[in-house]
């Protein structure tokens, strides 16, 4: 595959007029830079996904298993029986088109099959043809079609051009959620071993080693030790976090991405500093070292299998409750799925902040609290000493990650935290934030490098709103509570609005946090001179 070299202006020639031919008569054209490579056989085998094999997307022959049509149709029947959402959403769409221009991929590509309604019709048409009387008799007139290899390829191509962000679902008069339909489509294609590598690899790694990056226990520790060294450089305070420690009050779980890549690492440093300052009795785990869940982007069963580690580890270590770091889909999973999958967590206690005594009533069953809820409570109770001016050089905007916004409803907590640690805060236009927030364009396991055009196109609506506040207010930093955002929006901003960096909310907190016994800070969390302190750094 040739390297992706297109310039922003090349991508902006977007044609929103659909082609002359009817969509059913327009065969899928699988384009380079718009899809992810397939998963390796060994990764599928590791977790027991069926039909692992080596195949190439560009090849005519995808080496589909025998009777694959039957597998899909039986799978579809089973899903219709298991999920009311799927069953209802297959029947009630009136094709009003309210969702059409709400999808970031449609906005960025103009491809009509990226209108959520049409992406759903890809599946619905086969549903009608096989499961409804009208579709069986009237065929195309009833909007039905047969399942063919080309239809299957089209499914695969477009179900991996959906980031399960749920924005369409906000605008749909019946709440039809394309995320739910994409999840079903991915369940089905996974029956045939059509997993993408960017999910398959992390899933296998997470299953065996505890995290998506495949960091082994000693590496998890050495990553965090390295952060502690940097923190000592910045603050003069030595932090010694514990790992897999039995009897700790709190288990802390965060996405492994933040242990490895900038700027997520700065957020991880922020956690360490905050917890040290509070004297929190907490532990990291190397076994449950992943808050995110790429299984969620393949099948429900796989997601449950990966998620099981969190409660299992909390039980083994005997902690009272669990605190979760900043991550988007992780919080959709923890908020809406974990308790159902792997609960009841009756071995844990209802979460109470040991610092403020606040009971987190809203987490009394799942027993897991979001770091922004935790921090907002600390600030409200005056438990943190904060020096906002350390963030004065930043003009910050906040990106609501899709899942905390639309699958959890956590909108105010991070904003409250940011406003208490930063002087300069500016919201993006209202149609692009909160429940109407735009996806980074690379969520749901498609943040690979080979599909960069897709990612940049999908990231355009978000980046364009960032550019708006950059141009208007001079915003130079985008804050978010998502590890995937920190990686993907760094890339999208670099492409569309390179003047704006990306930060986690807890990095901003740590930068402002005045710690007991710290030396005068001259460096920020990124080890860059604080404004006004340039040159004052001691040369060692």
């Amino acid at each position: 595959m040739a390297k992706f070299t297109a310039k922003p202006n090349d991508l902006l020639k977007i044609n929103y007029n659909p082609p002359q031919t009817d969509w059913m008569d327009t065969p899928v054209e699988i384009r380079e830079h718009m899809y992810c490579h397939p998963s390796k056989k060994k990764d599928l085998d590791t977790v027991g996904f069926p039909n692992g094999r080596d195949w190439r997307v560009a090849d005519e022959d995808w080496k589909l298993p025998a009777n694959w049509e039957q597998t899909i149709l039986e799978g579809m029947q089973a899903l219709l029986k298991k999920y009311r959402s799927f069953s209802v959403f297959m029947d009630i769409c009136v094709r009003c088109g309210a969702c059409a221009d709400k999808c970031h991929f449609f906005i960025g590509t103009g491809d009509p099959k990226n209108m959520p309604v049409l992406r759903a019709e890809l599946l619905r048409s086969v549903y009608r043809g096989n499961f409804t009387l009208a579709g069986k008799i009237l065929k195309k007139i009833a909007g039905a079609r047969d399942l063919t290899v080309n239809v299957l390829k089209e499914w695969w191509y477009y179900f991996y051009q959906c980031t399960e962000c749920r924005r369409c679902s906000v605008f749909c008069p019946y709440g039809i959620d394309q995320a739910e339909i994409t999840m079903m489509g991915r369940e089905l294609t996974n029956l045939l071993g059509l997993q993408i590598g960017w999910s398959g690899g992390p899933i296998a790694a997470c299953y065996m080693k505890g995290n998506h990056l495949g960091l082994e226990p000693h590496t998890v520790k050495s990553c965090i030790d390295l952060f502690s060294e940097d923190i000592e450089t910045i603050t003069g305070i030595k932090i010694e976090p514990s790992f897999n420690r039995k009897g700790a009050e709190i288990l802390f779980v965060t996405p492994s991405g933040d242990l490895f890549a900038n700027p997520g690492t700065y957020t991880a440093m922020g956690y360490l500093m905050l917890f040290h300052e509070l004297g929190l009795d907490y532990t990291w785990s190397t076994y449950a070292s992943e808050g995110g869940n790429f299984g969620f982007f393949s099948t429900n069963e796989m997601a449950k299998r990966l998620n099981a580690k969190i409660y299992a580890e909390a039980k083994r270590l005997g902690v009272k409750w669990i605190l979760g770091g900043e991550c988007g889909h992780m919080w959709r999973v923890l908020h809406q799925y974990m308790d159902t999958w792997n609960g009841p967590a009756d071995f844990l206690q209802e979460p109470v902040s040991p610092i403020t005594g606040t009971k987190f009533e809203n987490a009394k069953s799942t027993k897991m609290v979001h770091i922004s809820e935790f921090t907002a409570d600390l600030i409200k109770n005056g438990k943190l000493k904060l020096d906002k001016s350390r963030n004065d050089h930043l003009k910050v905007t906040y990106h609501d990650s899709c899942n905390p916004a639309r699958g959890m409803g956590m909108l105010e907590e991070p904003r409250y935290v940011i406003k208490n640690v930063c002087k300069n805060f500016y919201e993006m236009p209202e149609n692009t934030i909160r429940e109407k927030t735009f996806c980074c364009g690379s969520g749901s396991g498609i943040n690979a490098s080979e599909n960069m055009e897709l990612r940049m196109r999908g990231g355009l609506p978000r980046a364009n709103a960032v550019k708006f506040v950059h141009d208007k207010y001079g915003v130079n930093m985008l804050a978010c509570v998502c590890a995937i955002d920190r990686a993907t929006l760094s890339a999208a901003n670099e492409y569309w609005v390179p003047e704006v960096g990306v930060t986690g909310v807890t990095e901003l907190v740590a930068n402002a946090l005045v710690m007991k016994g710290e030396k005068e800070r001259t460096l920020d969390i990124r080890l860059e001179p604080l404004p006004g302190k340039e040159g004052s750094e001691e040369v060692s």
Binding site: L12, R84, F86
Partner: protein
């Protein structure tokens, strides 16, 4: 093709009823048997649909949250857009069903040079959708007068309100005008908006044409081509009391109207029109956002293979010990 087929289907229906009543004298078939069958199909079909949906469980609690969750006591929860209890869910559903809350949010993409992506307000779909549905409901309720010996008071009130403009004789019902205008707008939107046209199926045009024909024939009957109202009432009272009679000389336009309505009723459960019932079963809207407070149980949950801590420690014990991470077995 996508518009012509449903158009011809509706025309064929009209030809069918005209031929049947005018030339074959099948008044009893079109005036009694088909309406009975249609209503029976509607009721049975709708029950079947709802039962079928309801037979699939809701394994996960997946509301789409459109507002602030219930969180810390000093953070204001959005009780309608992110309800945490039954009352809030009822409120959210009521807003959705009665006022089309989500459609009210609609915005329109506007890609400008620069690029600058803007989003303009776009309430026309909401307005026409709401106008159409409410008019349809009011007209339907008005028709109950045909099935009552004495005019029930609520219907009298609705009729008075609907005709408060007091134009003409018989007095003009506002809903008659609104429904024709709204459906016409929805049709024009469907064919002129390139994206909506692209996603449209014959099954989207057919109900529009059918409803237009139903409303059109009703308007013709009331304001222009008069029918024998006493005969109509005799027929409808016969139907409702299960002692059907077919008075002579009612007028063909009535039979057209009745037959098209019958088709609409019978077609309803097997088409997208079931969104009327389906919206109540939509898990993204009818569930409370109390996920971390109240555990949701998945009825088909089953045990899965996991990689246990024991297996994990067996894989990495020496590496863990070498950096001082505690292990279960030394």
């Amino acid at each position: 093709m996508k518009t012509l087929f449903p158009l011809f289907a509706v025309i064929t229906l009209i030809v069918l009823v005209v031929a049947g009543v005018q030339y074959a004298n099948m008044q009893f078939l079109f005036g009694v048997i088909i309406p009975y069958l249609a209503v029976a199909t509607f009721v049975a079909g709708l029950i079947y649909r709802v039962m079928k949906w309801a037979s699939s469980p809701v394994p996960f609690r997946i509301p789409t949250t459109c507002g602030q969750e219930l969180s810390l006591p000093w953070i204001k929860q959005d009780k309608l857009e992110s309800p945490s209890g039954t009352l809030g869910v009822i409120g959210r559903m009521a807003l959705e069903v009665l006022l089309f809350r989500s459609l009210f949010r609609n915005i329109k993409l506007d890609m400008r040079e620069g690029p600058r992506i803007a989003y303009g307000s776009d309430k026309w779909l909401w307005l026409s959708g709401l106008a159409f549905h409410w008019s349809f409901l009011i007209i339907l309720i008005r028709h109950f007068r045909l099935f009552a010996i004495q005019l029930p008071y609520p219907i009298h009130v609705i009729e008075s309100l609907d005709s408060f403009l007091q134009i003409g004789v018989p007095m003009l019902y506002i809903t008659d005008v609104v429904i024709l205008a709204a459906v016409t707008y929805l049709f024009i939107r469907r064919i002129t908006n390139p994206l909506v046209r692209y996603i449209s199926l014959p099954a989207d045009y057919f109900p529009l044409f059918l409803i237009l024909a139903v409303a059109g024939s009703g308007v013709l009957m009331r304001y222009f081509t008069k029918v024998d109202v006493v005969g109509v009432k005799q027929l409808t009272m016969g139907l409702i009391s299960f002692r059907p009679v077919v008075p002579q000389g009612i007028g063909i336009i009535f039979y057209i109207h009745l037959f098209l309505i019958s088709v609409l009723f019978a077609y309803f459960p097997f088409s997208k029109l079931v969104h009327m019932a389906g919206v109540f079963l939509s898990p993204t809207r009818n569930m409370a956002n109390n996920n971390r407070m109240v555990r949701h149980v998945n009825p088909w949950d089953y045990p899965v293979h996991v990689h246990t801590y024991e297996e994990y420690e067996n894989d990495f014990r020496e590496k863990m010990k070498s950096v001082g991470i505690p292990v279960e077995k030394e």
